[in-house]
């Protein structure tokens, strides 16, 4: 099977079969990163542009390493170094980049739908590395990979996603991705952080964290942003962490084999207690490792990897 699409824009547009293909490919890619010589020639001669309108060290580094491990040439552009500051539109910037014949454009943008706009205009494959509050498909895929690896399967597991659901593209993409793969998703957070109509994604919603975690196989904590206080979403970090922070005490009611995830970067002592983040249930660093494998798989698949890379 091949990936039959040009772009990776969101989890809605991927079929369950395509998700499985990506995860299977990522499983194979993971081994490359464990070799002493962490490089294969698969994408030699290919150019990957990492176009980051929104600062992100983690995701950009992950894509950069993924490209380099496959021998692609990668180039990073950030909003401050690009002509965006001079008033060029996204479409113009995209066309200029395309004129240099890249093989893949990875984009992160503060505006929902920006990768879709770019994908419509360009012939090159576009991978969404996060657009506003909308989607973060590569994060969702690495989360699916990590859960599958630890639980053997995704179907039938119950995952609780806890925090500021309203502003989280990770929550949206995982709600779509996990339900598509047969998992139950429960979202939890204060009423101010649950967006209207989210239940139409076939998820359940609670404002009570204890209720969300008691029968969860996986607990995913979301980063809380201090700036949200200005928008009256919560009164203080102190109260937030008391009610919605993940602590050992709250974990007492969780399943014995529960897994704890976090898309990072974490606020220790706020949404997740210091010792819980490093505790026995945490698979947070495994997520980071798998992030490289998933991004290698995607770069490989969108460039038509199966056809081009026989023999590697």
């Amino acid at each position: 099977m091949e990936l039959s699409r040009k772009d990776i824009l969101d989890m809605e547009s991927l079929s369950a079969d395509e998700i499985t293909l990506i995860l299977d490919t990522a499983d194979k890619m993971r081994e490359i990163s464990e070799r002493p010589m962490k490089k294969v020639p698969t994408l030699r001669g290919k150019t990957v542009i990492l176009f980051f309108y929104e600062p992100s060290t983690r995701t950009r580094t992950s894509f950069d390493i993924a490209a380099k491990r496959l021998s692609a040439d990668s180039l990073s552009l950030s909003a401050s170094s690009s002509s965006m500051v001079k008033g060029e539109t996204l479409i113009d910037t995209g066309r200029n980049l395309e004129a240099m014949n890249p093989d893949v454009i990875v984009i992160r943008h503060t505006s929902a739908g920006a990768p879709h706009l770019l994908a419509k205009m360009l012939k090159s494959p576009v991978i969404n590395a996060g657009d506003g509050m909308h989607a973060h498909p590569t994060q969702s895929l690495l989360d699916l990979m990590t859960v599958r690896e630890n639980k053997g399967q995704i179907s039938g597991i119950r995952i609780a996603i806890i925090g500021d659901i309203s502003h989280s593209r990770v929550a949206r993409s995982n709600s779509v991705g996990f339900t598509k793969m047969g998992a139950d998703v429960v979202l939890a957070g204060p009423p101010t952080m649950i967006p209207k109509g989210i239940e139409t994604l076939s998820v359940s919603v609670t404002h009570n964290m204890e209720e969300a975690i008691c029968d969860a196989d996986v607990i995913m904590m979301l980063r809380i942003q201090k700036e949200r206080q200005q928008h009256f979403l919560f009164p203080s970090e102190r109260e937030y962490s008391k009610i919605y922070g993940l602590t050992d005490a709250k974990l007492k009611n969780a399943k014995d084999d529960v897994l704890i995830m976090h898309p990072g970067p974490i606020n220790r002592g706020v949404e997740i207690a210091y010792d819980v983040a490093d505790g026995p249930y945490s698979i947070i660093l495994e997520q980071v490792t798998n992030g490289v494998a998933v991004r290698m798989a995607l770069l490989y698949l969108v460039t038509g990897g199966i056809r081009n890379a026989n023999g590697d």
Binding site: T89, H109, S111, A112, L117, M133, K196, G197
Partner: protein
């Protein structure tokens, strides 16, 4: 020379509805009767065959943005006037959010001068409620009235300061200037880019709740009651606003209201794929809101259909959704979209003419109507022509419409202003 509009169904709501001929001389209606031609055979006359068509008093769009002065690449007074004529409007009211803002005699006079020079449709300037649309101080309403303004609005912005709104109502009443309120609570809207709900949530866009509009509608109704001065509510988009206005009217509060064709034709689902031509303020709502707006049109809660014609170039629209400008053009699609309400039996053709001609004239104190002695501002509508909307053929300078490619039925086929034909449809 005489002009005779022959054999059409002449509808002047509450006054006329019959197959009649209208005779026009020197820009005025001089005769309305059956078989008018025979009597005037001795004079040389121009005959307009209106058989099978609707002959209505000239349509008035009381909510239009002409972008001139300041943004002439989007629309000018001339191109906007031509778009109006093509859409069947004999008069339009242009909102003051130009650059400079129309808060002075100079800008009001500039608009009138350019409209007279274009010589297409009547253009009535709406001046600002507050200086610079800033919501901080009153404009000189006496001066603006004298210059030719017909109404006041800070459209584009709400008047957030309730005290200023109260005083604007009181002071404006001295000059008989209708106050048009753009109802939007800035704090509730926050960074909202579309209607709040499942569609926005799935698309990762910040939502604008219905209450952001209805809270201000309710406030303005309270101020209307307090002052006794009429308020006209612009572009009603929510069911809560319809309910509030209906209740107020029942109590005898002198509030009037308009909606735009897109608020009874589209839901927020049409924002999908981040289509910026479906982005406007207030945003497209839901089926329930459409239902309430139609009900409001039926029972008279909503007096007027106005387009909120808001031209934008591709520079403002071919961008990220949350950064795209609000607004769509409407002058050249209003008649077929209005006729859809007639076609589906929600309102009848007389109601439609009332809401697109009679009522805006009444609210603004403009002359209007098919009566002997009146100025011949007339729109002829063919309700039967089927066609596909093609934005590339619009007269407007802009193309930002979600209705491009829609199959519709009915259009204005002749627009007459002061006895002069400013637009005539040719196949």
């Amino acid at each position: 020379m005489l002009t005779v509009i022959k054999g059409g169904r002449v509808i002047d709501p509450g006054n006329l509805d019959d197959i009649l001929d209208i005779v026009i001389e020197d820009g005025n209606i001089v005769e309305i009767k059956q078989g008018a031609l025979a009597d005037d055979e001795n004079k040389e006359s121009k005959i307009i065959d209106a058989s099978g068509k609707i002959v209505a008093p000239g349509l008035i769009d009381m909510h239009v943005h002409l972008r001139d002065p300041g943004y002439e690449y989007k629309e000018t007074i001339e191109t906007g006037s031509r778009a109006a004529a093509f859409g069947g409007f004999t008069a339009i009211c242009c909102m003051p959010n130009t650059n400079p803002v129309n808060d002075s005699r100079q800008v009001t006079e500039y608009i009138i001068k350019k409209a007279v020079k274009a010589d297409i449709v009547r253009v009535y300037p709406v001046a600002a409620i507050s200086k610079g649309l800033k919501g901080e101080s009153l404009c000189e309403y006496g001066e603006l009235k004298d210059a030719g303004a017909v109404a006041l609005s800070d459209d584009g912005n709400p008047v957030m300061n309730s005290q200023l709104m109260r005083r604007a109502l009181e002071y404006s009443s001295r000059f008989n200037l209708t106050v048009i309120s753009h109802c939007e609570d800035f704090d509730l809207v926050s960074d909202g880019a579309m209607n709040e709900g499942a569609v926005a949530t799935k698309m990762g866009l910040s939502g604008i709740p219905n209450a952001a509009e209805s809270i201000m509608v309710l406030r303005d109704i309270s101020l209307c009651e307090l002052t006794g001065v009429p308020v006209h509510i612009a572009h009603v988009s929510t069911r809560e606003s319809v309910r509030a206005i209906r209740d107020a009217k029942k109590r005898g509060v002198p509030v009037t209201a308009e909606t735009a064709p897109h608020y009874f034709s589209l839901t927020d689902a049409s924002v999908k794929d981040y289509n910026t031509n479906s982005k406007m303020n207030p945003p497209l709502r839901t089926e329930q809101d459409i239902e309430a707006i139609c009900q409001g049109l039926v029972d008279g809660t909503i007096d007027v259909i106005a387009t909120d014609h808001a031209p934008h170039s591709i520079i403002e629209k071919a961008v990220e959704f949350d950064q795209a400008a609000n607004g769509i053009i409407g002058l050249e699609t209003a008649v077929p979209l209005g006729l859809k309400l007639v076609e589906t039996g929600i309102i009848d053709i007389t109601d439609l003419i009332e809401k697109m001609s009679k009522n805006p004239a009444r609210i603004l104190g403009l002359k209007n109507g098919l009566e002997i002695g009146k100025t011949a501002d007339i729109t002829i509508i063919d309700p039967e022509i089927s066609y596909c909307i093609d934005a590339n053929r619009f007269q407007s300078l802009s193309r930002n419409t979600p209705f491009d490619g829609w199959d519709v039925k009915g259009k204005a086929v002749l627009t007459m202003v002061g006895g002069k034909i400013v637009y005539q449809y040719t196949t």
